[in-house]
Symmetry: C2
Subunit: 366 residues, 2 copies
């Protein structure tokens, strides 16, 4: 007998209890509040709730009866997922999800602790959005907009629970993607966990290097190592929670590395080229941002004086010209008078933008 069985409950009407008012939990609160859904917040650190509340992410859940909630969202670090999911189910939670980075291990742990009936009320999920920053101050109502949000049902899951968790993803502005827990964990090992670990190994080889060597760092190494700045305490939990999939893929990468090392040592340029070409193919395989259809874009480069207002003046020009800027990268030295701005625009508009900017006195080129 599943209390969440009423068809009307497939619409997320609230109230929603969010357990864990960190960056993710607070962002969910903000996104739901934006959609007009009532949100209650709980965190073991009361100050996090105070901050999240002040940001408009919901109200303190001290007086809440879990059984009165339409949905409980568990947003805690991986090591605590199974405990909090179990607690929500045994406290009368009608529908429970979590937003952890690993999905199979918590499901197995919860399945060992609750009855099949209670387990049916739980459906895990995972929004593909994050930040190197943590805590409620890093939250944003727009964090999930247009992002994939994995919903990972298990065989015992109630249809109503699956539908409600899917509705949660939509209410937060995300695009739900349904897959099994095992498939999810394989996918994120490849697209998130192993890239993170390799980034950390590359970054680790910079630690302790002579400053004169590091002075030659360019944008490439900065991009490759950006994610390696993430919190080790959180990431070691993620890796431990997905150890099998991560170890399998790391073994594959080690085999590739062995091949590469032999090729570099023996001067086998054909083999080095083949490994590099497979990398190019891999970068092309990543879908367009947010999983939408890829629309061809092109960069336009513009020289911009480095003081307040100049970037605004450039984008005002682009706006007057009527070309939408889809991405922007500033490459400048704060101590110098001119920086180079790379505007990404629809490919068919790039020539028009370049010419029109130059007519307006900008130094622009493709």
């Amino acid at each position: 007998m599943n209390d969440a069985g009423s068809p009307t409950e497939r619409t997320l009407t609230g109230p929603v209890l969010v357990v864990g008012a960190g960056m993710l939990g607070t962002s969910i609160g903000l996104a739901l509040a934006r959609s007009g859904v009532e949100v209650r917040l709980y965190d073991v650190v009361p100050q996090n709730v105070t901050i999240a509340e002040s940001l408009g992410a919901g109200t303190d859940a001290s007086d809440v009866d879990v059984a009165d909630m339409q949905l409980v969202v568990v947003a805690v670090p991986p090591d605590h997922l199974a405990h909090e999911i179990t607690a929500a189910l045994t406290s009368g939670g009608r529908c429970v999800t979590d937003v952890g980075s690993v999905k199979n291990a918590p499901l197995r742990a919860v399945a060992g602790r609750v009855s099949p009936e209670l387990l049916g009320r739980y459906v895990g999920s995972h929004p593909m959005a994050g930040s190197e920053r943590s805590g409620p101050f890093a939250a944003s109502a727009a964090l999930f907009d247009g992002r994939p949000w994995a919903v990972t049902p298990h065989p015992a899951a109630a249809d109503e629970s699956v539908a409600l968790v899917t509705a949660l993803a939509r209410a937060c502005g995300a695009t739900p993607v349904t897959m099994a827990t095992e498939e999810h964990d394989e996918a994120v090992a490849r697209t998130s966990h192993v890239p993170h670990l390799l980034s950390a190994l590359v970054a680790g080889r910079l630690a302790g290097a002579p400053a004169s060597h590091l002075a030659l760092s360019g944008q490439g190494v900065r991009d490759v190592t950006r994610v390696a700045a993430g919190d080790p305490a959180l990431w070691q939990q993620i890796i431990a929670g997905n150890a099998d999939a991560v170890a399998g893929l790391l073994s594959d990468v080690r085999q590739d590395l062995d091949d590469l090392l032999v090729a570099v040592r023996t001067g086998d340029r054909t083999r080095v080229s083949a490994l590099l070409a497979r990398g190019v193919a891999g970068t092309a395989a990543i879908p367009a941002k947010h999983g939408g259809p890829a629309r061809p874009t092109a960069p336009v480069y513009v020289a911009v004086p480095d003081h307040p207002g100049e970037l605004a003046r450039l984008l005002a020009s682009a706006g007057e010209i009527g070309v939408n800027v889809e991405d922007l990268r500033i490459d400048h030295d704060p101590g110098r008078p001119v920086g180079l701005v790379e505007l990404t625009v629809e490919e068919g508009r790039a020539d028009f933008l370049t010419t029109s900017l130059e007519e307006r006195g900008w130094s622009a080129h493709r």
Copy 2:
């Protein structure tokens, strides 16, 4: 006897012959033209010269006597460096440099082909600036502004040649960094070549993965793999030209990977955490962009409607408020009405900017 011995020649007055009118060579032409230095251009592909000339990077060098040039800059792929440097020296070049990504192998090759006197006129160099794009259309006069530019003298190098190549770096807007060829090659193995190869291995494991898995790709994997889109034909030459330093460092990374793999398989969380923490230390060791002193910055997040002019309106607000935007990242789905913009500003100004933007009606938070 060195013809470049006059002290007055330590100032770059031109004319300068640039051999190779690709992305780098054309950018050097544009940067020197900006400084009022006469530039002559040569390329085995005449169309590249035509394009570079039309961009204002210099004029065709067909009628040029190399001995009339104050400086020859060789800007060709690594495999052709030694040949072109030697040709410039034996054709009467008074001072010759190159801008290749590897420095020791070309020097050794040239030393085996010319007299010690001619060799003294050659001093290699390497601007730390580039792009995944190639060809003269990708060039920019501002490419080197504020970037490090390695100048790599050898024991037989004439002081005048070292001074003139240093002047070239300055004339292009870069910051000269002097180091030995071996030290340069060790440094770029660590800060460029090995990061590139590991990025390619991570990207390579995406090629052929199920589309449903790749649909979960976030910003992290995009950043880690961006450089892997670079041209394999160029990069295999760079790797081959720096094989010893690259192989040594790759061996170290393989050792780290072996350690990591054992730690993940055995559930040794302490060891995984230690490797992740060393990665964090490595990201912190990278100096501020362009080698300048690090100035603390902070992000401010703003929700921005996704149509022409809105980004301009936001930056106009920031300009009115008087806060300089040092970096900007747009995170949006082209198909959705609102995106999130991350503005990077001086840390001490972030609260003021957030409050002031909200007073102007923007949805902003830190």
